[in-house]
Symmetry: C2
Subunit: 306 residues, 2 copies
Amino acid sequence: MIGARIPERAMKAMAGRADQSMPVGNEGAGTVVKAGSSAAAQALLGKKVAIIGGAMYAQYRCIDASQCLVLPADATAADGASCFVNPLTALGMVETMKRESHQALVHTAAASNLGQMLNRICLKDGIALVNIVRKSEQAALLREQGAKFVCDTGSPRFADELSDALAKTGATIAFDAVGGGKLASQILSGMEAAINRNAKEYSRYGSAVHKQVYLYGMLDTGPTELVRNFGMAWGVGGWLLFPFLQKIGPAAAQQLRERVAAELKTTFASRYTRTVSLAEALTPQAIAAYAQRATGAKFLIDPSRG
Amino acid sequence: MIGARIPERAMKAMAGRADQSMPVGNEGAGTVVKAGSSAAAQALLGKKVAIIGGAMYAQYRCIDASQCLVLPADATAADGASCFVNPLTALGMVETMKRESHQALVHTAAASNLGQMLNRICLKDGIALVNIVRKSEQAALLREQGAKFVCDTGSPRFADELSDALAKTGATIAFDAVGGGKLASQILSGMEAAINRNAKEYSRYGSAVHKQVYLYGMLDTGPTELVRNFGMAWGVGGWLLFPFLQKIGPAAAQQLRERVAAELKTTFASRYTRTVSLAEALTPQAIAAYAQRATGAKFLIDPSRG
């Protein structure tokens, strides 16, 4: 058993789950060993499938046949183990950009597994992407993978470099994994500065172009600080995969899933640095390692290990 | 001539207007003394009209006949002097609430001229409104005018009183005139707490109900601080009257204007504490008075005064 102290300010939001034992694990993949009597279920017997639906950190999981995504013949269970959340989130960002009428996008924590995936999607689809990272090694990694616009918050000229990249791409929507601090605000300021480079007339209310930042992660759990020097046409909000999929409806969501299956070994390939059993995942050493949420350190949980 | 120092952090947004002489004044009202040859223009001769379109702090203003709102026969120019921005903003808040599928709303700086107007609209239309004020006198003022839900940020129990009012009204959209500080964040937290009172199941991502705060003013020009303890279904953004009117289109906007004209002496009545000439408006004493943006101290500029 592992215990940990929850910070006081987070306890209010946790109140509803006190004293509850809650199963965890968003997604996983494996071989179908038993199936119901329906033709659809029977057809899956012996197939490798990926599934999503919670309570996935387990050796066996019973789920509706319609929820299974059959993996390509040459894919392993590990290939499919994280083929929903990250791939669909990356595709969901591009889809949100299009549906909300933006022409290019910004991503923070851009060297993450998800960020690299988004970079591959954008390169393939010809969409301009401004990648924001914290370190020069991360910038180099993305550039090696073909990224054209990479801004490093560690650079002394970050603000100017960001507004240059925003002016060149015309990006007016950002997806931010950091959440806390001033980064979202800096992105909105950079967008407004980029837009005003081409403005013909001063407007006291700022540009009329809508600028949007969605916070989809909480790498920094501290407060988000918005220094409102970016006019009045802006929005900041939370973004989550499941409400997004619900909003676009089952047909559009299925199209995204099919693209993931088709490009599982290329665009949507995940790389893991270590594989652990369920028991190992709860050792203090393993927790200390993955709690860092460090770039390039993604763990695969293999519940079939003893 | 009056000079004033602009804070350094505001100068970036001002760069585009340096060395420009800019006419001011959003709206005004007066008698039509000269008109073009068209029948529509001629029909306005001698009538009292209200107009909006900038450069209104002047004795005469030439504007398209179609832009004139003819005032009711018993209205004075003073009655119509501010019949666009505040009335349409208040109506725009209610309209935004409906269009974005919320059932009740929150307003801050609620004892303002605009706030009292919004309170009258909501009472008349049977819409639940949570009024947030800073002082007990302001709370008393609104209660005297029939307001049912008034929360005072000065109260030691503000957070609980707010979440009570939010639970009773079901308000999930707020219009905030303050902008800076933690108020927007406190409203989102209060909404989430109110929603979770009735939640049957704990969700680690917070409630699925979208909570929205629009910042339409800047009484506090400091940073907006969001302590993100209200789940992932939320948005904060700028809100301005003119983009809103453009979005709803000319027919819907005209309906709102007609309601204002019909209820000019009741729902949309403005009260002024002082009338000044254009020259008086630029005296240091007058500036010191209206720069306080205090509740119940609204100035009327009368350019016909010498």
